[in-house]
């Protein structure tokens, strides 16, 4: 499970993108729409390049398997994300 930090170089994150490894099929749909080239996809490993991500959420919208989700800081989702 990949948990991004609360801050980017540009300041605090407003929206957090979280990748659920177990739901991801490594299809590349999200990489294709990411305007910032912020997703790294190897054969069976997917990583968010935090520095580049602007939280635009396009990757979340296109994922066919709902493997990408929003996390809103302070919304009580973070502890659950660690399980």
């Amino acid at each position: 499970m990949y948990i991004p930090s609360l801050f980017t170089r540009k300041g605090p994150r407003v929206l957090l993108i979280q990748i659920k490894d177990d739901a991801c099929d490594f299809c590349g749909c999200c990489v294709g729409v990411c305007p910032e080239d912020a997703i790294e996809l190897q054969e069976a490993r997917i990583t968010l390049i935090e520095d580049r991500c602007t939280n635009c959420a396009k990757c979340v919208w296109v994922c066919p398997f709902e493997a990408l989700i929003f996390l809103k800081p302070g919304a009580g989702v973070l502890p659950e994300a660690g399980k």
């Binding site: 099929d25 749909c29 294709g32 729409v33 080239d37 996809l41 919208w61 994922c63 066919p64």
Partner: protein, 395 residues
């Protein structure tokens, strides 16, 4: 220092392998790098191609073919079925064998093929790019080349590293989910296409038979629709409703860039082909043969550029593609944009209109001709595009 390859190709799909084979056969050194451990796996594809398009590109091996298709059935939201006469035939392939064989043919022509080789950057050079960085099992290495080809599919990044804007717009990304189902009643010679807001909004659902009561059952919906509900949930609903007894042999996700081709498919000594260059037919989402065709054009330009030591010759590829398929794909793109806006009622009305024709008039061209005089709605273009271009891109 490592040798300088004439060409490095990133990605061993049908486009990459076709280009590798073309260039290697002309006697140039080619290195093709694939990140996955298996070429052709996993299969993220409905696997349908037209016989004429495929035959023009490669000698068709019977081992690639799961079933031969002679009928298309377009199913409207109300269940009415239109079966235009195809006037040709096509295949549902076994892409795990097909892709693998195309890479084998490239290797037999002299190309060096390597799997488990993930390219994660371009190496800047004096004039353009000097090579690529490869992450393998033992850390990163640099491979140098005179020309670099991005055949890296829907997730392409090579073009971006070369300074091209290659990301797919949200509305143009068809987000797909597909299952290979067993133990279902299918007709082995018919491809079925379902349309409608509740089945596959801004896209369609396909049932492509693979023989022995199995089929690829999948759907693609625009990113705009996927934003509201996931493709997988649409597919699960359809399968539960239509094939409750089915065995689910595979479940995959995928994306198809259903956009018009990129404006630039060449940047200095970097060339893009296939999905990486958005060379998919935007209406059907078919990209196997159109990517291979582009790869052949690109291969010829690469050979000329190497022979004359002049990267400018790569521009031949850009011009030829733009004039031929690029122009056609722009037209298909407009059709797609219109069709995606159709309501279920419009689709139903059009299907009923076709069914009112005498059966012998329901050839694709007959239907089209009558439709033009009676009802110029673009659905007829859709029939034409489905009937002829996904099975015969040259129409």
């Amino acid at each position: 220092m490592s040798p300088v390859w004439d060409v490095i190709i990133v990605g061993a799909g049908p486009a990459g392998s076709t280009l590798a084979r073309t260039v290697a056969a002309a006697g140039y050194s080619v290195l093709m790098l694939e990140k996955d451990r298996d070429i052709g796996m996993p299969v993220r594809c409905g696997e349908a191609v037209s016989d004429t398009s495929l035959r023009e590109l490669v000698d068709v091996d019977p081992r690639w073919i799961a079933s031969t298709i002679r009928r298309f059935r377009l199913i409207a939201p109300d269940g009415n079925m239109v079966e235009p006469d195809l006037g040709g035939h096509g295949y549902v392939l076994e892409r795990r064998i097909f892709d693998y064989d195309l890479a084998r043919l490239a290797s037999e022509a002299g190309a060096v093929v390597r799997t488990k080789s993930y390219v994660d950057a371009l190496v800047p050079g004096e004039d353009g790019f000097a090579g690529v960085r490869v992450k393998g099992n033992n850390g990163a290495t640099i491979e140098r080349a005179r020309i670099i080809v991005g055949a890296d599919g829907v997730e392409s990044r090579v073009g971006r590293w070369a300074g091209l804007r290659t990301e797919t717009r949200l509305r143009d990304m068809e987000c797909c989910a597909q299952m290979t189902l067993s133990n279902i009643p299918v007709e082995d010679d018919a491809c079925d296409f379902y349309f409608g807001q509740s089945v596959a909004p801004m896209g369609y659902l396909w049932v492509f038979p693979k023989g022995r009561n199995t089929a690829n059952v999948g759907l693609g919906i625009s990113g705009m629709a996927a934003k509201k509900r996931s493709p997988l949930s649409y597919l699960q609903d359809f399968v539960a409703r239509t094939y409750p007894q089915a065995g689910i042999l595979t479940t995959v996700a995928g994306g198809v860039p259903c956009a018009a081709t990129l404006e630039s498919v060449v940047s200095r000594n970097v060339v893009l082909v296939g999905d990486a260059a958005h060379q998919v037919n935007p209406v059907s989402g078919g990209g196997i043969t159109s990517g291979m065709r582009a790869a052949r054009l690109a291969g010829e330009a690469v050979i000329a550029a190497l022979r004359e030591n002049s990267p400018q010759r790569l521009g031949d590829y850009q011009r030829q593609w733009d004039k031929g398929y690029g122009a056609k794909h722009r037209m298909y793109y407009r059709i797609k944009e219109a069709v995606h806006g159709y309501s279920d009622e419009t689709l139903n009305r059009i299907a009923a209109g076709v069914l009112a024709l005498k059966p012998e008039k329901r050839t694709i061209w007959g239907v089209f001709r009558v439709a033009l005089t009676r009802n110029p709605a673009l659905i007829w273009d859709m029939v034409r595009v489905f009937g002829l271009t996904s099975f015969d891109d040259d129409a």
